[in-house]
Amino acid sequence: MSGNLQLLADTLARAKQENRAALITYMTAGFPTVNDGIAAIQAMLNSGADIVEVGLPHSDPLLDGPVIQAADDIALRGGVRIADVIRTVGEAYQATGKPVLVMSYWNPIDKYGVERFSSELADAGGAGCILPDLPVQESALWRESAARHSLATIFVAAPSTTDERLRELAAAGSGFIYASSLMGVTGIREIVNTAASSLVQRIRATTQLPVCVGIGISNAAQAAHVAGFADGVIVASVLVKAILGAPDAAAGAATVAELTAELSLATRRHAIEASK
């Protein structure tokens, strides 16, 4: 089976046609257990998320703040394996037909084997990978394998990324470009940093690829604001935190579904206003 890069591209294009930003939500695989994680992901996809990112838990998640670190710790202590991450992707895709991405640090994929990982991800119906710590100049082997299996290669750009570097990311990337709204790690912030919109502008000057903004976006007002200038809004920590704070798995999945529905409505706000 070939990967779902095209489904990802079509999903982002359709959101654009509908005059809204796509909603991309995140959940760590194997958290709090593999099956409960799958249930939470399916709840998000059934409540208005267009695309989902499945986190591959890592011992050293450098881009992540305390919430996702805690989820990774719980998943790893629970004994989650890469096979479980792939199964999570497969079940989420099979149940919803929506694009499912993996977000992973590079070392687990490097160790597992680039070809083995990309072929198994494609077979499960995955759409691609977000690779925050893979430098673009070291990415040729991955990109070759990803292209062969129709998987997206999504690089992360930061406000400090130079225009020259943005051109390299845009040329090497596929699916979309992940723009970090701020300098820092994942987590919940009070306000959306003003750096986000200028970064999106600079990225658009280099590429036709959609630009999705994440890191530090956790409520409907922030999602609506970002939907005003980005093709996609990425939300992670607030959803993971909902599961961390839930009395049981069913309650966690219900809260995640509620939050997703609110966020989804917010990304459509511009579409609603435009139709008035």
């Binding site: 011992s59 640090y105 070392n107 687990p108 930061a158 701020l182």
Partner: protein, 254 residues
């Protein structure tokens, strides 16, 4: 301490690698106003080269002094290796001197076969940690594992990438030194010379004892005594008390 604010790290396994993780997380958020003073020759480019250049005065001066005192280059230059900053500082000046063996002593903890060690080059494999590809201690799916050493400074599951290069090219030799061997060397230097070495540096001394036995009485060895042991008195006291207890209980003295 000395006017600095010390912030304990509570994430992950709460060891040196987690302190580096937390520093990176803070740094990326404050990069415009903050410089990261990396303690070792690890991390992303250009840190390994920068730190090496800051440390290279060790080798430059040691090479000059040993030539002045003995009229020849040593047979071996020996240093302890955690991340490997003092070792690369010593080795760098001797890289062109191919007659000088460059020997790094890694922390073998309770022994490389026990799994409780920090001997990354002796028992690890290639992987990515803290922004560089080098040797790391990891499980079969690329999760970094927790290292062990009696010395806090060697308790790191990675190693500077230049050491990985010297290891792979054969220019450097890396050997594991257990906690017990390091503590024997610690005691020997303290009792024979009145110098208390850092437990990290005692790993280099233990390696020198082994290499000295191999070279014989004409051998000339340069050891990097990279740190002082007054910081380690609590650890050493605890270790030697337990050692004495074990001996009294009829065990074999380490």
């Amino acid at each position: 301490m000395l006017g600095a604010t010390v912030i304990p790290v509570t994430s992950g396994s709460r060891t040196l690698k987690d302190a580096i993780n937390e520093t990176f997380r803070d740094w990326v958020a404050n990069v415009e106003t903050t410089h990261y003073i990396f303690g070792t020759v690890g991390g992303p480019h250009p840190f390994p080269a920068m730190i090496r250049d800051f440390q290279r005065v060790i080798g430059v001066e040691a090479r000059r002094q040993i030539l002045e005192r003995t009229g020849r280059l040593p047979d071996a230059a020996i240093a302890c290796v955690g991340g490997g900053s003092n070792a690369i500082g010593l080795f760098h000046a001797f890289l062109p001197d191919t007659g000088v063996r460059l020997i790094g002593c890694e922390a073998a903890g309770h022994g490389v076969k026990t799994g409780k060690h920090a001997a990354t080059l002796s028992a690890g494999e290639p992987g990515i940690l803290h922004g560089s590809r080098s040797y790391v201690l990891q499980d079969d799916e690329g999760q970094i594992t927790e290292p062990w050493s009696i010395s806090a400074g060697l308790d790191y599951p990675g190693v500077g990438p230049e050491h990985a290069y010297l290891h792979d090219t054969g220019r450097g030799e890396y050997r594991p030194v257990t906690d017990a061997a390091a503590m024997r060397a610690f005691r020997l230097l303290a009792s024979s010379e009145g110098i208390i070495p850092a437990i990290e540096s005692a790993h280099a001394l233990a390696g020198a004892i082994e290499v000295g036995a191999e070279l014989g009485p004409d051998g000339l060895i340069l050891v990097n005594l990279s740190g002082r042991g007054d910081k380690d008195m609590d650890t050493a006291t605890r270790y030697f008390e337990q050692d004495a207890d074990a001996a009294r209980a009829g065990g074999v003295s380490k």
